[in-house]
Symmetry: C3
Amino acid sequence: MNLKLDEIAHFLGKEASETPGPEISGVRPLEFATDKDITYVAEAKFMRLLGTSKAAAVLVPRGMSVPERPFIECTNPEADFARLSKLFYGYPKKSCSNVSESASVHPTARIGDHVTIDAYAVIGKNAEIGSGTSIGAHTVVGEGVSIGQDTTIFPNVTIYPCVAIGSRVIIHAGAVIGADGFGYARDVDSSGSVMNIKKFHSGSVEIQDDVEIGALTAIDRALAGVTTIGADVKIDNLVQIAHNVNIGPGTVIASQSGIAGSSSVGSFGMLGGQVGIRDHVSVGNGVVLATRVGIYRDVPDGSVMAGSIPAMPHTIFLRVQSLFKRLPEMLERIRNLERTVLQNRKDKS
Amino acid sequence: MNLKLDEIAHFLGKEASETPGPEISGVRPLEFATDKDITYVAEAKFMRLLGTSKAAAVLVPRGMSVPERPFIECTNPEADFARLSKLFYGYPKKSCSNVSESASVHPTARIGDHVTIDAYAVIGKNAEIGSGTSIGAHTVVGEGVSIGQDTTIFPNVTIYPCVAIGSRVIIHAGAVIGADGFGYARDVDSSGSVMNIKKFHSGSVEIQDDVEIGALTAIDRALAGVTTIGADVKIDNLVQIAHNVNIGPGTVIASQSGIAGSSSVGSFGMLGGQVGIRDHVSVGNGVVLATRVGIYRDVPDGSVMAGSIPAMPHTIFLRVQSLFKRLPEMLERIRNLERTVLQNRKDKS
Amino acid sequence: MNLKLDEIAHFLGKEASETPGPEISGVRPLEFATDKDITYVAEAKFMRLLGTSKAAAVLVPRGMSVPERPFIECTNPEADFARLSKLFYGYPKKSCSNVSESASVHPTARIGDHVTIDAYAVIGKNAEIGSGTSIGAHTVVGEGVSIGQDTTIFPNVTIYPCVAIGSRVIIHAGAVIGADGFGYARDVDSSGSVMNIKKFHSGSVEIQDDVEIGALTAIDRALAGVTTIGADVKIDNLVQIAHNVNIGPGTVIASQSGIAGSSSVGSFGMLGGQVGIRDHVSVGNGVVLATRVGIYRDVPDGSVMAGSIPAMPHTIFLRVQSLFKRLPEMLERIRNLERTVLQNRKDKS
């Protein structure tokens, strides 16, 4: 696709520095932009980097002077960069239905208009797929699942029965939605042997509108009730969301994080990668959790939490590590010293 | 399904407080129970919560007084709750065979009675599938795999050749059983370049009876010998079990934990989420590992281990973090103080 | 396969202690070897363990005396063990093409000689598959993907469009290559509500020759440019490689590690399991990262880094944990003591 700069400005509801301006065929960050691309500078302090870029044009914060390069002023250049990335590279909208002959669609399934169902996909009994939605090859949509409009599900995804998925959702390859939550009761049998007795999960999962779910992420169904992923939540690859978890709207969760059973995270939070949240914990709204933190108790709204130990040279760590266990002893020795020194002072006076 | 309370009591081998008692159509925890459900109170100290529940009846610990609600006394109410969850929500037992026309079943495969094989499943050469077992859509059962009776394998699972799976096993979607273990020898080629030489794995995997394996969990085959998952072991989603690992019976392993090559965990252990156990380590029987701990050496039977650092406000952590490296220096300064103060005392006396 | 010891020596370009020597039908580590197997002793210090093995013959370091057992002297016995594991247990080479009738191969795809395509595999438009390569059941090879020669892709793998994969690559079941990177811009809509705007990713992924990728590992496409996995890189199961990451040749990455966006790791590194590397960080060549470390800043060439906290008995950890936050206070108390003691000394003199 090729667009003149002023057409791009018009798409963004803004004005270009020239009309019609250069022809643009793509949108890329500064260091990757070719002389056919538009790029962006997120903040004034990065303007000096613009000189290193080959970009034909640039999205800049309002009020910048931009020497010798066509530009568009934006309140939020990064957001407009993202909007343009959809314009140039977004998933194609389908104007007709395209159901593979090899797909297995149950006769009771209700399929909307302009739906794509790729090779070997399986659509179960009474499933419902909204208009404009596309289902990848080998994806399994279980019995009674409902999926909204313009949702994109990539290949090899498994959606267990009765899960509800909204509109404009994206689910990447290999994700598993609605498997049983992990719960057992321990008991002893008549011979006194310990055994684990599975709790079968009668609850469900609800994925609200505009959610994105990464590759190989698992979201378990609730024991009873619903595991809920709020609107506009974005989840990266290899994330674990356990049964009965509730994620508020707009929260972003990076790769390999895990949220244990019955915990909740509020709205518009940011979770770094490899975060762990234990079960039955409530994390508030607007919370930022640094990468790799472990959360063991409730976190108030607006908190910024860190806590995972950073790497250091191995030889140093060997000594540090041995001192962790001796921290109580070190504190005790400090206390003893304080007592002795105080006594010395008293003795003297 | 609807059952009278006394029918439920009879199923559990217990007695109801009334006969026939209310009609029950489901089983849910206190806060989710409707007025058609039976619920449970795990321990005496939670009896006060019962008032908040709409449940029609309740499983209670023996010896409780239960005002105005039909009940069943149980030695272990949570275990009986789990038994009822199977009664109401357990996977349906099949009374006839149901092999999809689109499944690819090798002519040499031996398929038992009442087996379900869903759409596009692939059953390899000489594979053996026991009676009552069901194989999900798109699941691949490799050459020479044996699967016992009444086992349930969900869609999109991959079972590599020659893996042995027991009876009443549950394997959730996307799991991979029997991929090559991760092992290489480093060498230099004739030109002096470093290279990694793969160790091809000739061993196998054995999944014993009553095991449950979560979605997207990987269990690798042994280099030689067998990676063994003992009877009644329960493994959550996204767990890594490396080559030649041995897990004793009844152990429960929560999500995103990883056990490295040739390590073992004893029987009836409990591993929290995101636990890591390094290679060639032996964890004893009945060990509890708190969520996110790292195990670097053998752990004796019955130990309760913790050790991952909890989150704290980011501003505090920045200061704490810088002090980790200074712990050896802090200890040295304490020692110096002790020497000086002792000397002061001596000087004085 | 059965080979005489001297045939094995000849395959390795070495000499056997006897000719023809015993007949060998397999290769296994000391403790697993049968009396038909050849085994190996990696280093002189392990020679004493040889007595416990049933092996018919042994690969030993040069200069060892080997009592009563046929042997082959090797510069690097472990590397020769790995070479023999391929000889005995390597994936079979195909001498003819074998494309399943149930596979869905786009008419524009270019398929080399001796290619295996298993049941229900999907090969997209303009995809290119080199000679000797095999594609597992249910694997999806997207539009425009190129795959080199003698590559092995196991079942249920998803390769997104336009990914480039080299020769002699191994990709295990369930892996996902080329999903969108995780990137959003936050903005407010006209009503003041916060929203996440997806950055659509126009970049790609390049997997170079001789790479191995574990089961259920995710490698994301670049925002622009290429996510690059260098030649001979070995990646374990459940690993996350984010957009625009660059891994140098020969580096080995153990299970459940994660490397965040735009970070790089040099050549011939070793990353233990559950390592985390944050975004925009550069890890040098030949770096060793111990299991579970978190990397938050650049690491120079050749560093050996550790830093994750080891497990300890839970009762001890409860006390230790509470002292982490008090480290700044402890340092302050040490400083005060030092001042006071110094003052005492001055007062005295």
